[in-house]
Symmetry: C2
Amino acid sequence: MVQPETVLPADFFLELDRSSPMPLYHQISTRLERAIRDQTLPAGARLENEVSVGQRFGFSRPTVRRAIQELVDKGLLVRRRGIGTQVVHGQVTRNVELTSLYEDLSQTGQNPTTTVVRHEIGTADETIANALGVAVGDRVLHVTRVRYADGVPLAVLDNTLPSEFADFTKDELANRGLYQLLRTRGTTMKIAKQQIGARSATMSESELLSLPRNAAVLTMKRTAFDSSGRAVEHGQHCYSPDLYTFEITLVDK
Amino acid sequence: MVQPETVLPADFFLELDRSSPMPLYHQISTRLERAIRDQTLPAGARLENEVSVGQRFGFSRPTVRRAIQELVDKGLLVRRRGIGTQVVHGQVTRNVELTSLYEDLSQTGQNPTTTVVRHEIGTADETIANALGVAVGDRVLHVTRVRYADGVPLAVLDNTLPSEFADFTKDELANRGLYQLLRTRGTTMKIAKQQIGARSATMSESELLSLPRNAAVLTMKRTAFDSSGRAVEHGQHCYSPDLYTFEITLVDK
DNA sequence: AATATCAGAATGTCCTGACAAAGTTGTTCG
DNA sequence: CGAACAACTTTGTCAGGACATTCTGATATT
């Protein structure tokens, strides 16, 4: 028994701006996402079919398809041939994005602050050399920071940067997010490879995060790559597990 | 200074089968991925441009674009207007997929086995009701299993299933992966929402996983949704962190 | 009443065509 | 020689068209 489709109101896309630099498919996608989040399109609802949306609102079918695919990729919609497109049940959650922790916290209203506890020029050992795609012995910048959220210590962030960024100052790193700084240099982060795990905190981490000796910590190793596919940053991070988790939505292709 | 493009050999797509049910774009994508993995297309290489690939091999440009986009989404390629498409540096790693742990382990040659330590019909409390989209008090199946890899305890898997799957037997769950079982019922998993964290192991977990008292464990809560967008499974899993991590590739949209 | 078949509905795939935007390279001018 | 501009290159966006596949509901048959 197929749910009747939810016909979109005639003024649904009233605010779309065809002269905007924002692609049309993205505007459509954003508008639909808003409807899902405010439950105009509630969980389980079947969306008006893509051919009809295209005809009624003056979009080409590939443009509508692309907009819907964005939401499918985010896990908000599912599609089936013969049936149509449905809104996924369950709470709509924030999904992990390629951003720095600084930006994450800012975006969720948890005022981030930073203490730089290490800032030194060193040379790349084999692990770093492999991660950053540089030669063993190349100059790198080692930085260790403690990140606070609303004044509470949340994470110890150990990062290594290639020589082209070795001139980031202690001050800069204390006052801005790392990705913010990289962006001021015209570096666009495109990909991050991450490995998430857990272990017991070191002595130093326990102190920095105000955790009991040997407490469990959530860890993440990350290498980020720019728009040329080159590694720009390698990090080993350690989070207070009571305060931080990773939320990830997986979608089957 | 732009890298010269790597021209694909004339026989590069020789094995593609246009009569296959496998979509052409996926075949192209798979073939390109193979070339990246075997380093025919090495890290940093610039791929032959999409217009040329389409002309030379007889594919439409959107089909080529779609194939390339699949690899961009996987973090293997990056694209820039005016420059072209490049292979990302860094090791090509396995990326997390919407599969069960059983399938993960099988696929990586780590012979999975399972002990069922709890198997009982119960009723949904508020948390479970919210996760599964059922009513509080509805019938559910609670299952707790220990998963071994090559005979070593790896994870404690606590799962709750809605009543339609309440007839899975202890035997079935001991011998097959959960997602395998769901698939025999015609259920297609499409989306999983996951929350990854860490904490200290409970007494019971320490014993089941042969870990020291209060050892750090890696945790994951998961709710999986089917192709109608309905929740089909809620799990709370706990992993031995020395043996298991999550590898995730994030791609900027 | 139960089962099989068919038609309609909706997404999935692939193609052709056109124009825009961002980056690099080459040419011209001061 | 360096800066500015133009041309070229490559990806990004959008449209329109056609056909294939999967699913549901209606109808026909037993």
